[in-house]
Each structure stands twice: as C-alpha cells, then as structure tokens.
C-alpha cells in the first residue's frame, strides 16, 4: 500500500476536503448535532445501553500505519473498509486501488478541515459506523459488515434522513475524490487532464484597448 503523506497539507487537499464536506459544512451545526443526537438516542434505546461503542470489532486491535496523521483509529478502519466496498476494482479496467494512496489522500484532506467541521465529520463517521448495529439489524458495526450488507447499508442511507443522506454522500465523495484526483487513474478512462502546456498553446495576452469614439 502506498504510504501516507508526511508533508504539510497542500492547497489541493484543502480544496478537495472543502468540496467534499460542503453539504456538511453548510448544514447548520445545531441541525446537524440534533440529527446526530437523535440518531445516537435511537441507537442507545435499541441497543439497551449507552452509545459508547456498541460492539467491539476485531479491527479495533489492528494498528494504523505510521504515516496516518489525522484520522483516528476507528476512522481509519472505517475508510479502509469503505474503500473496499466502494471501489471493488478487481477485474475492471481501472487503476488498482493498491497503486493510489486513497487513504493517505483522505487523511490529508481531513487534516485541512476547519475544527468545527472536523468535529462534525467525526460525529457523523462514528454514527455511520455504529448505527449499522441496529440499522437493518445487522448486529455489527459497518467495519465488520460483509460486502453485500455493506453495499445495502450505503444504499439504505442514500434513501434515509437528511443526516443519513449527507453522510452517505460525504463518505463516498471522500473516497471517490481521493481516488480520481490522482493522475494515475486517468489513462484507463482516457481523461486528458491539463493540456495547454502539453499542447504548446500560445498565450494571447490582454485584449487591446477598445477604440472609443469619445477618446
């Protein structure tokens, strides 16, 4: 697997992160937290306990690579599983995930988020992971779902409440953008990328001053 970036977040990371989290960033914080709290309360009631981690997972014991700087352990494993579910590229013509630093890109994008949005992203990710225990009665967290169940889980959230639709979009966009922004993914789909310099197109400069009748 490609290693995580150890350089400071760059402008491209920041832009990608802002774009991906725009739905989340604009939802008023009170509304978002209300949705999270309602979701959490539902989970707690259904599970008959508190909303602290509802089910332990084997992945809780797995380490996170050294290069990951911004994702928590649970977030790292959530995105690792989400990449497997969202980008099943084996047998396709697309560039294998193993050749693209998708997780490192997500980590870098997450690192550029303003603190208040970062907090909402963390809350939303926690809800997404844990709600699988009761949502659809899977009885296990998202990170432990079988592929078919994980796909169904995403699809159910795409039709759910505002918060569910938002998190479905945000998680998918983090994964998709982190993959497709890498130029290595472009040749299989014949995307040209930047062309002006490559094609040697001349610069025209500024337009000439208009000839004014009253000048």
């Amino acid at each position: 697997m490609p290693t995580a970036k150890d350089t400071p977040p760059n402008q491209s990371d920041q832009a990608a992160a802002r774009q991906v989290t725009a739905p989340l960033a604009a939802v008023t914080r009170r509304r978002f937290m209300k949705g999270i709290l309602l979701g959490s309360a539902g989970l707690a009631v259904a599970a008959g306990g508190t909303f602290a981690v509802l089910r332990r997972s084997p992945v809780d014991q797995l380490p996170v690579p050294d290069g990951i700087q911004h994702l928590s352990q649970s977030e790292y494993h959530l995105f690792r599983r989400a990449i497997e579910v969202l980008l099943p590229l084996a047998g396709s013509a697309l560039t294998p995930v193993s050749e693209v630093p998708v997780l490192a890109n997500i980590d870098a994008m997450i690192g550029t988020l303003p603190a208040h949005i970062r907090k909402d992203v963390a809350s939303g990710l926690m809800l997404f992971d844990n709600a699988a225990v009761v949502s659809g009665w899977h009885g296990r967290r998202f990170v432990d779902l079988e592929e078919a169940d994980a796909v169904a889980y995403f699809d159910r959230w795409s039709r759910g409440s505002v918060i569910q639709r938002t998190m479905n979009t945000v998680i998918k966009q983090f994964v998709y953008v982190s993959y497709w922004r890498d130029p290595k993914t472009w040749p299989p789909v014949e995307f040209d990328g930047p062309v002006s310099d490559r094609w040697g197109i001349a610069y025209l400069g500024n337009a000439p001053l208009p000839e004014e009748a009253d000048a």
Partner: protein, 523 residues
C-alpha cells in the same frame, strides 16, 4: 506590485494611455509593508468581477481616480493549473465550498481578481425581452427595454469579442444533443461566448490559461488600469463608512493567501460602488448598517442540476469547447421557464454529479466515463432566498421553493427526454439515491416520485443574483432604478445583486450592461 507587466503607449484625444499587453499591475498582500494603509480616491469599487471591472473602466476613462478592492488573490493566467480541484481552492469563494444552509446547493462564485468572469463558461446572453417586461410590470423599471439597452449590449459584445460558436466549437457532446433535439423537433441553438480563438481545452471552470476567454482579467481590468485605475487584491472590505447620510469610504483588512492579517486599510472616497457579487455585497452592507430592509432579501440563484447519461459511443465530455449548444424551446415562462445547456465536465466532477449506486455499479459507471454526456438545467426561480450576516458568518438561506419545484421536475424530464432521443442507454438522475431512466415510458413514473426535501436533489448554483434588487418602490427594492442604494448618498450597487428577477439565462452580459448603465449615471 506584481511583476511581468508588458505595456505600450497609445495616443487618445486627451491623454497618452499605456496599453497593458500582458499581466496586471495589482497591489497584493505581499507588496504591503506597513500595518495600515490609508488611501484616497474619487471612487472606490468593491469587487473586480463583471460589475466592478466595467464600472472601473468606464469611470477611469472619464478621468475619475478609481480604486478597485478585490477580496480574492491575483492569479495571473499563466498560473492556472487546469485542475478543477486546485482551482476551487485558489479561484472560488470559500474554496469551492460555499453552500446554502441546507447544504444541498453549492453556490459557486469566483473569488479572485476578475471574479466569476475568470471561471465561468463564457456563455453570453442578452437579457430576454420577457424579463424586461417583468421588470417593467412588477418593479416600475420603464427605462429597461431591449431597445434602450441595445447600445450597452452592443458595446460589451464588441469589447468582449462575443460571437456565436462556430462548427469547430460544437464538441462531440453537443453534436449528440443536436441529434436528440432534431429528433424531438425542439429548438436548439449554438451559444454565443466571449472568447477569442478558443483552444478547445474544456477547462473553462479552472480559468482560461492561454487568455482566450475574454474575462475581466484580460479586458476591462487592464483597460481600467491603462486609464489610471489602481487595483488591490487580497483586500477584504469590512464596512462602508458614512457620516450624516453620506458615504465617506470603506474600511477593511489585507489578508494574504494563508489567512494572515497583513494590514488594515481605510479608503476615503465620496463614491462607493458595491460590486462584490450577490452574496458579499449585501453582507458588507449589512455589516455597515446601510440600506433598507430589502438588502439581502429576494435572493435567487438559478438552481441547476447536471443530468448525466451514458451513451453507446465514446463522447469524452472533457474534450472540446465546454459549452456548445442549448435548448431554448421552453425558455419563455409560458412554455415552462427553463433552458437546457449542454455542458462538458472533467473526471472529478463526473463522480460527484450522480449516484450510480454503490460498489460494482459505480465502478461500471466510471469505466464508461468517456461515454458520458451531460445537460445542465436552468430555471426561472422565484426570489425566495435571503443573504444574512450573522455576526461572525454569512448565511445563504435558500430552499428550492414549492413554487419552483414543478419547474425543476419539468426541466429534469426534458433533459432526460433529450438524452434518450439522442441515443442514451441510461440517464442517471441527480439525486442522493440511485435513480435512472432507460426508456421514455419510465420518465414520469420515476421523476414524479421525487419530493422537494433537503439533500434529495444534487443542485449547483452558478448565478447568485437579486439580493439588492433595483426598483421604484422602496417597499420591495434596495436600490433605485439607477442603482443608488436607498437610505444613504454616494453608494451604488453594480453587480448581479441588482437583478429584480432571475433571468433564466446566464447573467454575465446583463451584469456588464447594467454596470455600464450605472457608471454612466455617476458623475
């Protein structure tokens, strides 16, 4: 002062003007070496986009001492990257993340020297006649007719090389849609665009690297500078100052690209032109406590959807002129009140516009990326939104209204129908869940299931407008019929905030013409 300015002297009747052939003389944050800038001018213009640049040129060539303040950075064309994700960071408001409070409508605006004209798709429409009729009927704006505004339109069209797309500018995705429109018997026309010798790179939304797009960056701003206008970038105006009911200037801050506060700035000027765009202009006025209660109200934005479809043959939607043709069959409100624009897009955008499904369906969708083509819908939305400064942040309060939802659905149905007539195998709806149509008989059943609720439709606005409406009645307008802000002397509005109703069509030419009209009335 920025480097690489090439210029040459030109004789005019009254003066020798230094034509600026390449680049712009801009005072940037990196040029500021003091903690406080105190400047004076005859006119201070807030914003350097369509409204600000035109007023700057028109007033500077009259001999007024003009100062333009732009909140965004100065990015010369040579630094454009043709990478949309990077361009969002450097050239767009809120780094491309500006959205309404529901989070389901991205509001894309340029935030750089040249404003949105740097990152638009060059589409150039005159204001439709029936829009002028609405302005006359509902807002008493009798001076605005196609005939009275024709000299303004002709002037900007000449200055900005606005011509109809030639055959070579009709890319593959547009050719396919021409096929569909012909099969349906719908009226479809080539766009007019403000461009010289289009290089057909398809990267309009990332700025035109080789200066073919006739944005303000390469036209009115260098012309204004040639007539002595001064331009400052990285300069965020906090408020317009006033005394005893008269504007006295502005106060603000110089902030570099990394968010560092470099200096405070104050400008003394008897005339202040608000041209920061339909989101920022009302925000600045509200921070200043100026204007009546209409400032910020009546916001509209042409909520758009990008309707993508897969075709049996390769289309390569990123190749060729980004915008080639449009359907005007339904433009008049009596016929539906929407238009369909055939638009290209890049790979990053392609994975964000639709929901093709999870896992394998997404992979299959992206494997066929080169076979995708898209249609942008634009509707004549009602002015139901509001821009509000909330003390430490702005809010764009805009929900797709129930009055406009039928138009959205009608435009969506028409886009799907056009795709299918053009030979599409599958049309993906711009919704949060996977919804697609593969035959005409499915259209009503699938689309009529949609409901008007947040985060259901994926919408983008490229045309915020109307938040400082002009009109003759103070009860429903923020400015008078000549752009003067009500309640204070010496402040004019000269950007898309002025538009009393939404236009249906892309607004840049209307804004250029209105800015010129307003400038002609400033002594």
């Amino acid at each position: 002062m920025s480097a690489s300015i090439l210029s040459s002297a030109i004789e005019t009747k009254d003066e020798t003007v230094q034509q600026i052939n390449q680049g712009l003389p801009v005072v940037q944050a990196s040029d500021v070496k003091t903690g406080r800038l105190e400047l004076t001018a005859d006119v201070v213009i807030i914003g350097s986009g369509a409204g600000g640049a035109v007023t700057a040129y028109e007033l500077a060539r009259k001999g007024l001492d003009v100062l333009v303040l732009e909140a965004g950075p100065y990015v010369p064309s040579s630094e454009f990257t043709e990478d949309f994700t990077e361009s969002l960071e450097t050239l767009y408001e809120d780094h491309g993340g500006q959205a309404n409070t529901d989070g389901d409508l991205l509001v894309l605006q340029g935030r750089c020297v040249g404003g949105s004209t740097v990152v638009n798709g060059c589409v150039s429409f005159r204001t439709p006649d029936f829009i002028f009729d609405e302005w006359h009927r509902d807002f008493g704006l009798t001076d605005f007719t196609s005939a009275s505004m024709a000299p303004y339109f002709e002037r900007v069209e000449r200055n900005l090389s606005i011509t109809e797309n030639g055959p070579h500018e009709i890319a593959r995705h547009s050719q396919i849609m021409q096929r569909g429109a012909a099969a349906l018997g719908w009226s479809m026309k080539p766009f007019k665009r403000n461009i010289r010798e289009c290089a057909l790179t398809g990267h309009c939304l990332s700025g035109c690297k080789t200066e073919r797009k006739q944005s303000m960056l390469v036209t009115y701003l260098p012309w204004a500078a040639a007539h002595g206008a001064r331009i400052h970038s990285d300069t965020q105006v906090d408020r317009v100052t006033s005394e005893q009911g008269r504007a006295t200037g502005v106060e603000g801050r110089v902030i570099d690209r990394h968010g560092k506060h470099v200096a405070d700035i104050s400008v003394k000027a008897e005339r202040v032109i608000m041209a920061a765009g339909a989101v920022q202009t009302p925000v600045i006025l509200q921070r200043s406590g100026l204007g009546n209660d209409q400032v910020g109200r009546n916001f509209a934005c042409h909520p758009s959807m990008y309707v993508g479809a897969r075709y049996p043959e390769p289309v390569h939607p990123w190749r060729g002129a980004m915008l080639g043709v449009y359907v005007d069959e339904f433009m008049h409100p009596d016929n539906g009140g929407f238009i369909l624009e055939v638009g290209g897009l890049g790979i990053a955008e392609l994975c964000m516009i639709s929901e093709p499904g999870t896992g394998k369906p997404f992979v299959e969708y992206m494997e066929k990326a080169a076979h995708m083509a898209g249609i942008v819908t634009l509707i004549h939305d009602h002015n139901v939104g509001e821009i509000r400064w909330q003390g430490d942040h702005k809010e764009i309060l805009y929900k797709l209204s129930d009055k406009d939802f039928p138009s959205m659905l009608a435009s969506l149905k028409a886009a799907v129908r056009l795709h299918l007539a053009a030979g599409a195998e599958e049309v993906l709806l711009p919704t949060s869940e996977r919804l697609s149509v593969t035959s005409v008989d499915q259209i009503d059943a699938v689309i009529d299931r949609l409901s008007n609720k947040p985060q259901h439709l994926r919408m983008v606005s490229y045309h915020p407008q109307g938040s400082c409406r002009m009109g003759t009645d103070p009860a429903n307008s923020a400015t008078d019929a000549e752009g003067r802000l009500r309640g204070v002397e010496g402040v004019w509005v000269a950007d898309a905030s002025l538009l009393p109703t939404s236009l249906i069509v892309n607004p840049q030419v209307t804004v250029y013409a209105l800015a010129n009209y307003v400038a002609d009335r400033i002594g």
